[in-house]
Amino acid sequence: MSRRRPVAAASGGGTLNLVPMIDVVFQLLVYFILGLSLEMDEELIRTDLPRRQAAAGVAIDDEPAFVEIAAASAGKLPMTVRGPISFSASTPAELRSRVREAIAGPRPTLAPSQRFVLKPLPGATWDDAIEAFNALAGAGATRIAFWREATP
């Protein structure tokens, strides 16, 4: 039963086996790197929020275009634009192309600084509002806000 001891142990200097620890550390690294990269799929859209103001007259040349957003159904998102231009669109792509044409088409009818006010109707979701917002921003509109009631 005379088993031979390792030389290091016999000489009094034990060696630490670092391999399992390094394995664990690398496993943790891989876990955290993957976990973090899965969360990095969020992006931002900048917006302005109107403050509550007393009702006041609006200058004709700053008349906002109101975009009413109804609840989406069957892949359609009914939207009605009223103001300096008036039309209806049933998808965000259609809204985008009509507004783009009005702002940057061959015969523009709106300035890029045209104000748009989004007015989601009852039943419209946050997703619907964001789709309309994104379509207007993609069309080149730079002043987009959400509607809110003025104080009487």
């Binding site: 973090l36 969020e42 994104n134």
Partner: protein, 156 residues
């Protein structure tokens, strides 16, 4: 040369050992970094089904200071929601919105240049999210710098 060769032969097997200490140091630093980042990020990123617009005009977040406001639908009633911001919960009613408004005002007073990132579940009625946006707008000080958080198309 012959003497050196003989010496090498006498020593037996040549043992080459890599110095693992710097590798382990670096690995632990990386682990600590990721642990901290994950903790910060998971506190700010409540799991939500964010809107995923077509052809988004969104931008990647940068290093600006931010306050993340999440509007989380209630499990029992998906048309109702709770606001989660700065590790606190606020109900969307008169009392809760007053507290939330005070929270936003304090956060903006502490860091006037910070952005307010609004994360809301795509399925929530707009009417539920609207009071949150209005509270942010009414928080006082300079006009708020608000960013709406969306999910990039093709993301998880």
């Amino acid at each position: 040369m012959e003497r050196r060769a003989a010496r090498a032969t006498n020593r037996g097997f040549a043992s080459i050992q890599a110095n693992l200490t710097p590798l382990i140091d670096l690995s632990f630093l990386l682990v600590i970094f990721f642990v901290l980042v994950i903790r910060i990020s998971s506190a700010e990123r409540v799991p939500l089904e964010l809107p995923t617009p077509e052809e988004p005009v969104s931008e990647l977040p940068d290093d600006d200071r931010r306050v993340v406001v999440s509007v989380v639908p209630d499990a029992s009633d998906p048309t109702r929601a709770t606001i989660q911001a700065g590790g606190r919960l606020f109900t969307i009613d008169d009392g809760g919105l007053d507290e939330f408004l005070a929270f936003v005002a304090a956060a903006r007073a502490a860091a006037p240049d910070s952005f307010l990132n609004v994360r809301a579940d795509a399925s929530l009625p707009y009417a539920t999210v609207r009071p949150v946006l209005e509270a942010i707008a009414d928080a006082g000080g300079a006009p708020p710098k608000v960013q709406l958080v969306v999910r990039r198309e093709g993301g998880s």
